[in-house]
Amino acid sequence: MIDNEADDAYRNQVKLNYQFSSWAGQTKVGNSNVRLLDFRIESEDLQGWKLEEKEELPPGTRQQRVFRYIHSPARESSNQRYVSTIFECSSVFDAHETLIDVVMTYMARKLPRCETRGLEIGDICFGSHGEVNLSVIFARFNILVEIQSAIPGLAPVNAFAGNVDSLILSRYSRNKEFHEG
């Protein structure tokens, strides 16, 4: 994706900003060879959330497939709306490199670790600035998840992001041996 010197220098600086070397290739559960295949979110997977849209996007070189989902609360009274982009990457390391690819496109120079915002999900996770997490990006195994609130105002993504992470973990637990290849 990066093909010139300026972008290489920028990418290296972004890696420094995010302390990439301290977490790259590491997982909290299982080993660094874990690879979930064909991970998708179906409409019944996230209780309390209505799947409004699901679209497959063209994958990049590090990814097998990319899906975008739009969810809203099943309760009509709420106006929350979340856009999730789920990158199924070729490996744990590729998921972490893809995380750098994504945060490179953020105008913020650096994001806070989720742990500092009271959110413990993924192998590595970054939240947003401001009062609450309006956006979160985390990698769990070879799956990179970016969740953005698509409405103005304070619609924290923590609960929804936690549900997605639990879904990834449950898929892994169902067939550990297979995924650890």
């Binding site: 953020y106 105008m107 609130s149 409405i151």
Partner: protein, 433 residues
């Protein structure tokens, strides 16, 4: 005269002229007049883009959106809504050329060999002068007959979106009275010149042909503009001020680009947002704003591309008014950008002007301190004096972009340099999807 015959010649013309007078005097019925001096004519179809390989003498190649194509004939019998019969014309390419539409008719009785046809109204395309159309076996010859737009006003008012109506009329069999044939409605777009990338004229059909769903907005936002700079300025201001978009203060992430990260513009989703407020929401960053500006401006003939500025370390910001913000300040993530992206002209160099829909800058003689006199950064040079020693002196009078965006020091102005488009962004003209 049998109803299957259609006489012609001076005698019959005189006969019909007399009948028409008798009809005016209510001495003969309309039915009687029609039986002897009329025929049954039908307008079957109208082609605006009758030559898909050129755009000098007809409408340009368009499609409705990513999934729906539009092909000639754009109007067919039964279409009653203007938006179902669209056509777009490029001012620059059609200037000085004969512009034509083509129409197909049928006639009965089959033996009728000619009829005279015209259309009144027509708005920007003008009325259609009376023209004798030949028929064989009940169908016009040639099947699609050319009508020159002698009275069009394409270009007089610059960029335009107009729903026009033609009241078609005809007379045949020597009839002297014009009779109503059909009323047709069409949506006409007038743009400055051939749309630039990501929009393409060839191949056709193709998902990157100009979308009328996008022209609906671009032509309204830039209505009346007669040159590319003014059109891009008007579009930039609309995006910044009138669409309800809000800057992503949480992290400055793109919400409307995707595919290899920032490779594609999610135009279908953005149009949904414009239509009903949903899509991918109203939160945007600079990449989104630069892409929206580039895509809609290039649709009406401008030649912009989304391009970055900054350095490996980013750069520091002086307070600005972000899109959707009430006043001047810094983003929620601090007074610095890792990079910034705008719609740029030329080769995105220091001397090249740019258009930034993402923010407004301080336009007064001290852009690094309050009070703030906001200006839209439209058609403003990136830097008039890029190598000047820092800090710059106040008063600062240059209409120069980066000096009004960055802090007056090495970490600001000194670290904000042209970089170029994202490597995977099709040279800053992201394909639409």
């Amino acid at each position: 005269m049998s109803s299957n015959e259609c006489r012609s010649g001076c005698l019959h013309t005189l006969f019909c002229w007399l009948l028409s007078i008798l009809r005016i005097l209510h001495l003969v019925s309309k039915k009687f007049y029609r039986k002897h001096c009329s025929c049954d004519l039908k307008l079957v179809a109208i082609s605006f883009n009758h030559n898909s390989s050129a755009l000098t003498a007809d409408a340009i190649n368009v499609r409705k959106n990513f999934t729906t194509t539009i092909s000639a004939p754009e109007w067919t019998a039964g279409k009653t809504v203007a938006t179902d019969s669209p056509a777009a014309y490029a001012i620059k390419e059609t200037q000085g050329h004969k512009i034509t539409i083509k129409a197909k008719f049928t006639i009965s009785p089959n033996s009728a060999t000619q009829a005279e046809i015209k259309a009144e109204g027509g708005g920007v395309l003008g009325s259609l002068d009376p023209q004798i159309v030949a028929f064989a076996n009940g169908v016009s010859v040639p099947e699609f007959v050319s009508f020159e737009l002698h009275h069009h006003t394409i270009g007089n008012d610059g960029i335009k979106l107009e729903d026009i109506t033609w009241n078609w009329k005809y007379r045949c069999c020597g009839g002297s009275e014009w009779e109503p044939l059909q009323t047709t409605h069409h949506r006409i777009y007038v743009i400055l010149e051939e749309p630039k990338l990501p929009w393409k004229q060839q191949p056709f059909p193709d998902a990157q042909n100009p979308w009328t769903d996008a022209l609906d907005y671009a032509c309204a936002w830039a209505a009346g503009q007669k040159n590319r700079d003014d059109a891009a300025s008007a579009i930039t201001k609309q995006i910044n001020a009138n669409l309800g978009l809000v800057y992503d203060n949480a992290l400055g992430a793109s919400h409307y680009t995707s595919g290899g990260l920032v490779a594609l513009f999610e135009l279908t989703q953005f149009l949904t947002y414009l239509k009903n407020g949903t899509g991918l929401g109203n939160i945007v960053n600079c990449t989104d704003c630069a892409t929206i500006t580039t895509t809609f401006s290039n649709l009406v003939g401008c030649d912009l591309h989304a391009s970055k500025m900054g350095s490996a370390f980013g750069f520091d910001l002086t307070p600005f008014r972000g899109i959707g913000a009430a006043g001047f300040g810094c983003p929620g993530f601090g007074c610095g950008f890792s990079y910034h992206e705008v719609a740029w002209k030329g080769g995105h160099g220091n001397a090249d002007p740019l258009f930034d829909a993402c923010l407004r800058v301080d336009g007064d003689t001290n852009p690094w301190a309050a009070p703030y006199a906001e200006i839209f950064p439209v058609n403003i040079v990136f830097s008039t004096n890029p190598g000047a020693p820092l800090p710059l002196a106040v008063p600062f009078n240059a209409q120069s972009y980066k000096e009004r965006l960055c802090t007056n020091d090495a970490g600001g102005i000194g670290s904000c340099n042209p970089i170029g488009p994202w490597p995977n962004s099709s040279n800053g003209r992201r394909p639409v999807k």
